[in-house]
Amino acid sequence: MPRFIPTILFAAQFLFFAYGTSAQSLPLSSSCPCTLQGSVVDSVSGQPVPHALVRLAAPSPRAALTDSEGKFQFENLPAGLVTLEAEKPGYLSRDSIGPNLSLPVSVQLAPNSPPVTLKLTPESIIFGQVTDERGEPLEGFTLSIWSHIFNTNLSEVGMGSPFSAHTDDQGKFRIAKLSPGSYILLVNPPEGGAQKLLAKSSVPSGYAPFIYSGANDLFSATAVRLLPGKSQQVNFSLKREPFVRLSGTVSGYNPGDQVTLTLWAAAGVQDPHIVFDPANGSFRTDWIPPGPYTLIAQATSTASPEASALASQSGLVLQFVQARESSPHSFASQQINAGSSISDMRMVLQPTVNVPLIVHGFPSNHSDERPNLLPRFFALVPKSPGASSPEYFPGWENPEDTHFSGDLRMVFSGIPPGTYELVIGPLSNASVYVESASSGSTNLLRENLPLSGSIPPIDVVFRDDPAILSGFIYSGGTPAPGVVVLLSDSRSKPTMLSTFDRTGAFRIAGLAPGSYRVFATVPAVNPDYLDPAFWQKISSKIQEITLSPKQSASLNLELATVEE
């Protein structure tokens, strides 16, 4: 997939387990050893959960199974902080997909402490059947679930597929261990689209990938909403279709150029074999399912044509790919809705654009540390309608220069004309922030960059006087973990921080000075933060604050929840 970035999802899961132990300290009682009693209940039904494993992380590791009434007890415990966690197959846990809503609980143990109740959130399940147009089961099809992935700046960085399953001989599939949330479902036929031939020289028929419920691409698909503990049935009826073949000519390259043809399918990257003859420019694809495609042709004057495309596909590129030498000097892209074979495609290569990127405002001393202050990546993400081409990452303008003195000069090389969003990856150091990003008069923190011919360089300015916002999150008067979201009129992207501290404490450093709207909400797989309806629902919980340079402000937030 062009924008497949699962790393973030899993990183977020890990953070859930780094639960805090910074609970308020009570005077220790000397009259223990004490007995801790409690029970484990299903958070949806309220029913006791028998035979659940209860683990005591502190003061020392111990474990017990609950009895048939969901009860457990630990004897001979010293007074003080006790951290408990429950687990049982069928309930969300650390190996579930999405946030683990079965969080550990910390209690202060003293003589006659009241019983503790641990809540386990039941997992959600998607199941169903894939059949052909006659209702016959289709076996060996891959069903994958996808969810939107947001980075810490709350910008959507792509779609991740945390889980997939294959249909069995009855065409049936099941995916368990899911957290509640919104998921997009994609059915992929076995490799090659399960092509079948009736006889020699006949046109093969097969199946195309299918996005529920008939969407053209993952980003416009209808999500299936899963409620906690609910099993959701989704059935698919797929149609075998005659496959098609795309062929034509490429022109506009020089003799000796390396020409690369790539075919992107709306449902994800396709990698059909494409035969290309550089002598006359003719090309022909393998048999492919009918449907919408983007065919990309690029010419490179060196012998490493794939480097740029590969670098772009690899998702979160943590270093600045030195892509300049291998970037294409000319490019052509064509969107086709291939309902039948097309034999006269004409791909006329056009020159690509190089866009300098200049990073200003880094401290001039300590040049050794400067790379560590850089964001994890800069990227130009295509925003043209229907674009499913890759993102582009800059290379150093002068790859030999590793001194990082003065302004840092990079360049986006070989970029096809179009409209792009400049995405600045998370900063690894909160002592600086992005003050501005612009190209000529275009404010790239708010607007997209139209790219054609020659354009002014992109200037990104960092400053080292950020503000800090800290405080507590409450839910009905009780401290609670949550997600803090900050929105500024000067930026199109919110700033976000997830806290997993049960005391509700949060601290966000590295904030650009300015006015913000702030709220806290619960973690979710697919937050609706970008949805105006969401804003409507939580308007009473939104607070406003203005931060000045180097200010340390504090704010208490009431958790905004949006119930179904």
């Binding site: 035979h51 590791p61 474990a63 007890q73 001989d169 031939l197």
Partner: protein, 635 residues
């Protein structure tokens, strides 16, 4: 014809299509057709929409694949003369080769004068075995390994062999589809989820008691069985230290007791399981005094390694050093679930005293304990000698295994004489010290990598009295030795690992007495052994003939005149559509060649059963390297 390229054929399809064109042609060669009808093997009805695939036997790449028409017909044209394997699959029918028997099928031969256009391909409806696995409380057991065993004649007697495996889903459900009718057994093997959950967690210390509340039911041993509502306390080891024994349907723990499921064509059988936890077995293994390995190692720490390559290279040269490392024998456990099917265990290991290891979390059953040791220099991986001692025991409770070499160790080394080793030594290259690192783990890893890279031949010394075996790895030069004093004095029979393609033909020894393939090794004094190895370099081919006509689909069997217990000396094939058969890779020796029509259900390893066929067989002698062409008379 023997089947062996099912997966490779699919993977290489693309390659073949592009490499198909012959380099030059004098005249267009004659081409032939394979045509026929796919029918239901039970009803005889033609089957439409079945996918029929042909593969060239000589170049095992899948050629073409077509769907049958409404009347079940298929047609392949433009084929060169040769042998082709036919496969068919359809929804509701397992993918199967033409007249498939075990690993054999009948290839279709095309050429002048051969009829390949009236092929009737009977396709057997596929069957299903499904079921649900629950625990003692009736909760679904998810992610449990479910093993399917099928009764086959592959060793000449009715044995249950593992054919496939799957995992249970979140409802504890499993499903084996696409089965051919036959006799099956099913087993479930997993760990209780709560012990796995603890495994990811911190190690529990035994000084802290653990509470098991309520009605946990443990089926045996001294664990508290408590149905009372009052929670009771037991030590922590009892919750984390339980296992599920391998459980065969219907709820028994050995393959011998396992129920046989007779599965009819197209039928669905159900086999449900309820698992019951039992205390895990604790194995105590006494190991011999550690064997020093002379290790050439680069004395660098991790920080230096992270610096740039040029600097690291300098470091490597300047600071290599010779070190002696105590490599204590590496104990590994495998659980033998059935003949030819074992599962590597990952027990909890604890050294409870010098030279005494305790391994827990072990299920009761047939456990193979192996202790591997090595000796040599890490810079000369070819020169490292590996050996292991192993013992199979049936454990039901805590057991001690004595692998210390108390009471008479022997010093044994030797050489295998075979053309294989000479050639192998010329082809191996080893870049020494590629990844300079220190520490025992790194050294063991380097040894393991070197071991995997080398020629995969082991020589087994099987003790004639104790249930002990010792394995020595044979170096590419054909050398073997037992490091330190791992081999005990005693009488042993020598044999090569089956995959080596070698067989012990005779032995010579200095310092020991030999008789045939056995050797009597005394205490103390050095023993040098020369092993003469025979290679399976003979072959036999011909036609299966009855009343002067070729017979397709007959079982062709080569029976050794002196079989012993070595099933690898038997060879089989299924005759192809023109009656032809091929038996490659045969050890030299005396055999009887027989061919039996409809012989696929015979227990051919049973002398009583074979007695009636042997007199009509043809005795042959295969000299080393011989390739005989001989017709087999079909009985």
């Amino acid at each position: 014809m023997k089947v062996g390229f099912r997966l490779a054929a699919l993977a290489l399809l693309g390659f073949f299509l592009s490499a198909n064109a012959p380099a030059y042609q004098v005249a267009p060669p004659s081409t032939y057709r394979i045509a026929g009808t796919v029918v239901d093997s039970v009803t005889g009805q033609p089957l439409d929409d079945a996918e029929v695939t042909i593969t060239s036997v000589t170049t095992p790449h899948e050629l073409e694949s077509f769907l049958t028409s409404a009347d079940g017909r298929f047609l392949f044209t433009d084929l060169l003369a040769g042998k082709y394997r036919l496969m068919a699959s359809r929804r509701g029918y397992a993918r199967q080769a033409f007249h498939e028997h075990e690993a054999f099928s009948t290839a279709i031969v095309v050429g002048p004068g051969l009829d390949s256009e009236h092929t009737r391909f009977p396709l057997a409806p596929s069957s299903v075995i499904t079921g649900v696995v629950t625990d003692e409380w009736g909760d679904a057991v998810r992610d449990a390994q479910v093993l399917l065993f099928q009764q086959s004649m592959s060793d000449g007697s009715r044995t249950l062999r593992n054919v496939t495996q799957t995992m249970t889903d979140d409802q504890g459900r499993y499903r084996f589809a696409h089965l051919l009718s036959g006799t099956y057994a099913v087993a479930v093997y997993t760990r209780p989820w709560y012990t796995q959950a603890q495994g990811q967690y911190d190690v529990f210390t035994s000084e802290h008691p653990l509470t098991i509340s309520g009605d946990i039911v443990l089926s045996s041993g001294d664990v508290v069985v408590d149905h009372a509502s009052q929670p009771s306390s037991v030590t922590q080891s009892q919750l984390s230290d339980v296992v599920y024994p391998v459980t065969f349907f219907p709820g028994v723990t050995t393959l011998a007791e396992a129920g046989r499921l007779a599965v009819a064509p197209g039928a669905t059988e159900t086999a449900d399981f309820q698992l019951r936890a039992v205390p895990s077995v604790h194995l105590r293994v006494r190991v011999p005094a550690s064997t020093p390995i002379t290790i050439m190692t680069a004395m660098q720490d991790d920080r230096q390694q992270q610096e740039d390559g040029r600097q690291a290279a300098n470091q490597k040269e300047s600071s290599t050093d010779l070190a002696q490392v105590d490599a204590a024998p590496d104990i590994s456990l495998t659980l033998k679930i059935a003949e030819g099917y074992s599962d590597q265990l990952d027990p909890v290991r604890k050294e409870i005293a010098p030279g005494l290891m305790e391994l827990s979390g072990v299920p009761p059953g047939d456990i193979n304990v192996a202790a591997a040791s090595a000796q040599g220099s890490i810079l000369d991986p070819q020169g490292i000698a590996y050996a292991s001692r192993r013992k199979t025991l049936n454990v039901s409770g805590d057991t001690e295994v004595d692998f210390s070499s108390q009471g008479g160790s022997a010093k044994v080394s030797g050489v295998v004489l075979s053309s294989q080793f000479h050639l192998a030594s010329l082809n191996t290259e080893q870049p020494p010290g590629d990844q300079p690192s220190t520490g025992r783990a790194a050294i063991l890893r380097a040894i393991q990598e070197a071991q995997e890279a080398r020629f995969n031949t082991t020589l087994t010394f099987r003790s004639l009295k104790a249930g002990d075996s010792y394995d020595a790895t044979v170096s590419p030069e054909g050398k073997f030795s037992f490091p330190g004093s791992t081999l005990l004095a005693g009488s042993y029979e020598l044999e090569f690992s089956p995959q080596s393609g070698l067989r012990v033909s005779s032995l010579e020894a200095s310092g020991a007495t030999v008789s045939g393939r056995t050797i009597e090794i005394p205490v103390g004094q050095p023993v040098k052994i020369v092993v003469h190895a025979a290679e399976a370099n003979c072959s036999l081919s011909g036609f299966a003939i009855k009343n002067g006509k070729p017979v397709a689909g007959a079982m062709v069997l080569l029976v050794p005149q002196d079989p012993g217990h070595d099933m690898t000396l038997y060879h089989r094939d299924q005759s192809d559509s023109d009656g032809s058969f091929t038996l490659p890779s045969i050890f030299p020796g005396r055999y009887i060649l027989i061919a039996i029509e409809n012989g696929w259900d015979l227990e051919w390893a049973d002398p009583q059963i074979m007695f009636q066929y042997l007199p009509a067989g043809q005795p042959i002698e295969l000299k080393p390297g011989a390739s005989l062409v001989l017709n087999a008379k079909v009985q």
